[in-house]
Subunit: 416 residues, 2 copies
Amino acid sequence: MPAEGGSEVTGGRPGTDGPRTLGIVGAGQLARMMVEAASALGIRTAVLAAGGDDAAAPVAGEVLVGEATDGRSLRSLAALSDVVTFDHEQVDLRLLDDLEREGVQLRPAVETLRVAVDKGEMRERLAAAGLPVPRYEVLGVAGDRGRGPDELAAAIAAFAAQGRWPVVAKAARGGYDGKGVWVLDGEEDARALCEDAVRAGTPLLVETHVDIDLELAVVIARGRDGTSVSWPPVETAQVDGVCREVRYPGRLHPDLADRATDLGREVAAVVGLTGVLAVELFASSGRLLVNEIAARPHNSAHWTIEGAATSQFENHVRAVLGLPLGDTSPVAAHVASVNVFGSTSAGGGDPSAGMSQALAVRGAHVHLYGKQPRPGRKLGHVTVCGDDPADVRARAWAAARALGTPVPFPIEAVVP
Amino acid sequence: MPAEGGSEVTGGRPGTDGPRTLGIVGAGQLARMMVEAASALGIRTAVLAAGGDDAAAPVAGEVLVGEATDGRSLRSLAALSDVVTFDHEQVDLRLLDDLEREGVQLRPAVETLRVAVDKGEMRERLAAAGLPVPRYEVLGVAGDRGRGPDELAAAIAAFAAQGRWPVVAKAARGGYDGKGVWVLDGEEDARALCEDAVRAGTPLLVETHVDIDLELAVVIARGRDGTSVSWPPVETAQVDGVCREVRYPGRLHPDLADRATDLGREVAAVVGLTGVLAVELFASSGRLLVNEIAARPHNSAHWTIEGAATSQFENHVRAVLGLPLGDTSPVAAHVASVNVFGSTSAGGGDPSAGMSQALAVRGAHVHLYGKQPRPGRKLGHVTVCGDDPADVRARAWAAARALGTPVPFPIEAVVP
């Protein structure tokens, strides 16, 4: 038996690590892709889903159904989990504060979530740290500072008067994918919005409307010990505030990319991040401005699943569990990732109806999230890696189109 | 709203495809990795597990607990599934024949399984097709052809007399990872084995003991329409019949690799394959001989998860569901994949105890299967991609060792 003989060497550090369960608040596609990454590492998962139909429900080890803002549900999730992380920002910070005090390991911590879930708080914290953000003013909700719709609209007009119309108003909380962002062309727009906002109790902030040369994003993973790694920044293409396409490296000049990376790491440190954080940036007349941040895996780095040595999902799982972070190097010279949306044609377009056609596209990596199709709903994405930027774009769009994705510009622009 | 305006183009072939559920008989690590691949594609899964602790149980969409040879369990699985595939070979062919006649979509089909699950049948079919196999004789079980232990042993001796001792006896069914294979040095060995085999009702075959220059494997994916793709052949390192390490391209001369690929495709066609098939080969004095085949994803291609554009698991899922096959090109010049086994030290070595150390190894892709640790049990694997063959081996072994894997030779041989 030469196999396990005298020259055998064994390793490991028994007792220092061990099997783990990762709890995830929310069970959307980000949770699903976290679960896929955790599964490969032998890590169990539990999700708190809004319903059994949620994207991550079929793959998670345990599925609890309940609201992300319900203390009982959160405590049940925590009881199953070594660490609790998040799929989305629709959380109750006060409740999470209580959980943290009770000893629940939240990653990112409430300190970070406080900044990430409220755009007003985010602006204040980044500005205080000297990081570049558009000029802004936090308006608060009606009643705050004694303001009704008229006073809020007047504040917006005064803000515009220091620069120019249009200005951008944002809901401080609850917005996503372009929802909760309004471009206001004058006082009339402002008044109409403020009436709606006061009625709905929506806290607002107002910002300058930046002349954007291009939009980019950088994603950072930061460990519990403060060490961080980042994937190279990408150019993002938004239509109506919704990300449609991500390109590595896109049209980003290496200097701009380096500055974006530095900025991303500063943001991660300022918010005390553990996990993955995305920083969406505007490039405007040679300057970089922070647009949005998200303290979780983000659409702008789905390309890393096939396009980088370690994906954002794997590094998020590693970071929140206190494991070393993996290599973030790209594995191809060019990567394009195109989002798949429910078609606006009859039936909302089940993307799996186009699977054969999409998978016949050379090198197309198709991800579908298993969500109920609805027109305009984000249902998946397609990534293509290669040497030629036009070719990878063309193939990614061809596969996304086969899956029913409406193409927001003449297809000839990308498919030669 | 420029977004979804007049220039919008929609695609897809509504009605030709659609959402699917893949049923898997067995819920070991192969099923787990199939589920991970299916999840990315938005495909639901159901597994027939021997127990709730099985590797694939925490990630599969539906988990049925029952025996793979139980008709009721199989029919319950089939009722949930569009297509049924397999994690292992411990099946009842007569029962599967019935299911196929009832209209259950088995992929691979019974025609293929019949060859893959019985080494005697495999030898007969490949030899009949003119494919190179070691000289062999199917001995059958006691009672077959009226043979008791003495007659079987005499048949083995007569077989040896046409060549030389030692010869290799194999259990025709139920063997795996070196179990069910015996090297017999003479008539005494043969008699002892035959007595055991008759007692246990084990059907035997006998083969020449091949002088092996090296062992290699080729993995083929073949679609329902007969089109096939293959990953480049790899060198495998076995200790006591157990695969410990897989190297792409290893020491394989390109000509030998090409011949192995051709042979693999012929085997796939001969057995009428749909899905993934592994062919394990001996290179002996410039000749290639088929050693074993497996009509499912196989340990010798776990490296394709990170090392190739499309993994064996994704292409297996695609093939059995009738979807187009993906690009099998390697993404690195060299890849090493090392299996993780339960350590022989106290406690059987929970590999997750060494996760921090293993993940700290640069570029180490760690896969743990979530199985109960036991000394010598296969619990995971580690893959490393890179430019330098010695470096990728060293890193893969370092990470596997950190996870508690016994190293079957002086570690200096791989870790400089």
